[in-house]
Symmetry: C3
Subunit: 309 residues, 3 copies
C-alpha cells in the first residue's frame, strides 16, 4: 500500500525512501499535467497555509504560497521575524501551537538548526521545513530530484556534479541525502576549505554511491548534470580568498563549448555570477524550469500532508 503522508511532517532529507519519494514525484507529475491543461484545482478550498519566515526568502515563501493558491487554498503569512511574537520572547514551540489553531499546515523557515523539528514537536498540524539555518531544506531537495529525473529521464546510473560551497550549502546536503537512495555517481567540486563534510561523503559511500572529490571544475564537465551553488561572501574572513574562488567556479558559454555533450545545469538560485547569463538560452539550462517544478512538488506536499489527495 502507498505511503500516505497524511499528517506527516517534512523535516529532513533522511526521512524518505525510494518508495515514498516516488509517491511524491507521481503526485507532483499529476499536478504538473493538470496545470499544463489549465485545469482549475480546488481541493484545498477552505484550507489555510501559514508561512512563518523568520529569515528573508522570496523564493521559498512565494513558491509555497503560489502552490497553495493553485490548489484553491488560502495563505496567512509572517514574512519577517521582526513583525512576529518572537520579538516578545515566544518560543518556537508556543508559536507553532498557536499557529496550529489558525491553519491546516505550516511552513517554517528559521535561522536555527533544528527549529522546524522543534515546531513539529509542538504543532498539531503538519509542519514543512522551509530551511533551518545551516541544517536542512528538504523541499528544495525534493524539487531538485524531481527536476533531475525530468531532465535526464531517470535517476539511475547518472553522474551528477555538485559545485561550489559544499561545506555550508544545505541544498547540496539535502540533495545528497536523497540521491544516496539511487545508483548514482557523484562528483564534488570545491576548494579544500569548502569541501563536502566528511560524514556526508562517508554515508554516501557506505550506501554504495561512488564519490569523487576534486578542486577542478573541468572534472565536472563530462557529468550528465551539474548542480551549481552560490559561494557566499560572508563565509570568508579574507575577501581576497572569496574573490579567488568566485572567479574559478563559473559556468559560461565558452566552457560549455568545450564539452562533448552539454550537461544539464541546475542551481538553487539566486545566482550571483556562478552561471553567466549567456548560458541561460542553452537547452540544458534547467534552473528556471527547476523553479517551476518547485511549485508542483510543493503542491504535492501540501495536498498530501493535509490529506487533500
Amino acid at each position: 500500500m502507498a505511503h500516505s503522508f497524511r499528517g506527516e511532517h517534512i523535516l529532513h532529507g533522511n526521512q524518505f525512501t525510494r518508495e515514498s519519494l516516488k509517491e511524491i514525484m507521481d503526485q507532483a507529475r499529476e499536478f504538473e499535467s493538470k496545470m499544463g491543461s489549465r485545469e482549475l484545482l480546488e481541493m484545498m478550498k477552505g484550507k489555510v497555509l501559514a508561512t512563518l519566515f523568520f529569515e528573508p526568502s522570496t523564493r521559498t515563501r512565494l513558491s509555497f504560497e503560489a502552490a497553495m493558491h493553485r490548489l484553491g487554498g488560502a495563505v496567512i503569512s509572517v514574512a519577517s521575524g521582526a513583525t512576529s511574537s518572537a520579538a516578545k520572547g515566544e518560543t518556537i514551540a508556543d508559536t507553532a501551537r498557536t499557529v496550529s489553531q489558525y491553519a491546516d499546515v505550516l511552513v517554517i523557515r528559521h535561522p536555527m538548526v533544528g527549529s522546524a523539528q522543534e515546531a513539529a514537536g509542538a504543532a498539531s498540524i503538519p509542519v514543512l521545513n522551509g530551511g533551518d539555518g545551516a541544517g536542512q531544506h528538504p523541499t528544495q531537495a525534493l524539487m531538485d530530484v524531481y527536476t533531475i529525473e525530468k531532465e535526464l529521464g531517470t535517476l539511475e546510473n547518472i553522474t551528477v556534479a555538485m559545485v561550489g560551497d559544499l561545506k555550508n550549502g544545505r541544498t547540496v546536503h539535502a540533495l545528497s541525502a536523497l540521491l544516496k537512495l539511487y545508483p548514482v555517481d557523484l562528483v564534488f567540486v570545491a576548494p579544500p576549505a569548502l569541501k563536502m563534510p566528511g560524514e556526508i561523503t562517508a554515508e554516501l559511500k557506505q550506501k554504495g554511491v561512488q564519490v569523487t572529490e576534486t578542486e577542478r571544475l573541468e572534472n565536472a564537465l563530462s557529468c550528465d548534470l551539474i548542480y551549481m551553488t552560490r559561494i557566499q561572501k560572508e563565509r570568508f574572513s579574507d575577501p581576497a580568498d572569496y574573490d579567488k574562488i568566485r572567479g574559478v567556479y563559473v559556468l559560461n558559454e565558452e566552457i560549455l563549448k568545450g564539452t562533448k555533450k552539454e550537461p544539464v545545469i541546475m542551481h538553487p538560485l539566486p545566482r550571483v555570477d556562478e552561471i553567466a547569463v549567456d548560458v541561460d538560452s542553452h537547452a540544458g539550462a534547467a534552473y528556471f524550469r527547476q523553479v517551476q517544478n518547485g511549485v508542483y512538488v510543493r503542491m504535492a506536499l501540501l495536498a498530501m500532508v493535509t490529506g487533500a489527495v
Copy 2:
C-alpha cells in the same frame, strides 16, 4: 429584536451589553460547530478584509486573516508601519478613507490610544480595533469571555483572578469592561506598582462586582479561573525590580498540586515564563483553546459587521 451589528465598529469593551454579547457568542458558537463538522463556509466570498498593523503582531493579525479565509473571504494587509503611507505623513483618517475604497471591513492596530476611533470616524466601512496602544483590545476581550463561558459553562457566580501587570495590560482592562456585565467576583493579583487602575476598580464596584486586591498569587488559587498576563520588562526602570516580580507570579505544576480543585488557566499569549511548560498538559490549561476560540469570535464579528450573517 436582535442587535444586528451590521455596519458597526468594534472599538471598545464598553460598547457592549449582555444582549449584544450574547448575540456575538451565539454566532461564534455556530461557526465553531460548523468548523467542527468541516463545513465549507463561503459567506464572505468576494469580500475583502484589510488588516493594517502599525505595530508588530503575529497573533491578532493572523487570527483575523484566518477567520476571514475560513469564511471564504480575501485579505489585503499592511504588516508593519514602515511599509505604509504613514511614513509619508498621512493621517490615520486619510488612510482609513483610502482603505475604505479597497476593502469591506478594516482591522487596525496602532500604537496610539484612540487611533481606531479616529479611523472609524473617517472610514466608510466597519472598523475593528485590533489594539490601540495602552487603550483597548476589544476582540481579545470578546474571545476571552467566550472562552470563560465555554470552560466554566457559565458567566454567572464565578470567581476570576487576573494576575500580573494589571496597570498597563489592555487585555485585562478590556476583559474587566465586559465581565462587569455579569455577576462575577474578581481577584486582582499584582504588585503595588502594577495595580489595576483605580477608575476601573471603582467602576466595577459601582456595577456590583465584588473586587479583591492582593499581592499574593496564593489568593488566586481557589478561584474558578486564573487569567495570567505577561509582565513586560520594558515597564521597569530597574531590571532588578523586574526580576523580583517575574519570579513571583509564576504558575507551575507544583503550585497547582496544592489546589483543592484546579482552576482553569488562561493567558492572552505570548507567555514568557509566567506559566511553566509543565502546566500545558493539565486539563485546565485553556490558553491554546483560547487562541482557537479567537478565530470563531473574529469570524462572528467579521460576518456580523459586514452583514454577511
Copy 3:
C-alpha cells in the same frame, strides 16, 4: 478590431493611443458597474498575481491586490525589498524570470528608473509598472484619466491645472503623457525650481496641447480641474525653501469660495497639507473617488493583460 492587451506589459504612459485608452476605460467602467450591483466576479479564479514592492507603498500595492481579489484571483506578495532575494544580490531580470514561474501577472515597484522595463524584458508573464523611481507610474495615470472623464463627463476641450512639484512628480509626468492625446489646455503651477521638465512641455506643445506655465495658484482656479501634488521635503537642501513653498500651494475652503465655478480637485495621495481637510466635503473633492476608480482600472488591466476578458 479592438486592441486586445492580452500578454502585454504596462510600462509607460507613452505606450497608449486614444483607442487603446478607450478600451481600458470601457472595461473599467464595466467592472465599476458590476461592482456597483454587487455582482460576484470570478474570472481570475485559480490565477495568481505577484506584487513585488521594493519600495514602501500602501496605496498602489493594496489597490492592485484588492483588484485581483475582486476578480476572484489570489495574490503573492513581497511588501518590502528587505525580505527579498534582492538582498542576496539577484538581478531584477532573474527575479522576474523566477516569479514568472509562480504567477500569471506581476506588478513591480522599484526605486530604479527603467526597472519595470528590465523585469518585462526577462519575464514570461505580463509586467505592470507600479512605479519605477522618478520614472513612470502608468496605472496611476490611467486611473487619473478615468477619473477626469468621469468627473467632467469628457476628455475634450477641458482645462486641467497641475500644481506642486512638477519637476520630480512621476504622477504628473505620466498623466501629461496620456492627456496629450486629447484636445486639452494645461496650466502648470510650480515654483521655478520645480517646473515641469522642458522636454515634457515641448512634447505637449508639439502635439497641439496649449500649455500655460505660472507660479501663481490663483491662475489655476478657473480651470475645470486642479490636480494637486505633494511637495516632498526631501527634495530641498534648505528646509526654509520647503516651508515657503509648502505654505503657498494649498487649497482650502476660503480659496475655493473665491471661484466662480468650483473646480474638480484631484490628488494622487497621500496628501500632507496641500489640501485642507475642510475641502473634503465639497462636491468637487474627487480624491477619494479617484482611489476607488483605481481599483476598477486595475481590475481592467489585470483582466485584460492575462486574457481573462
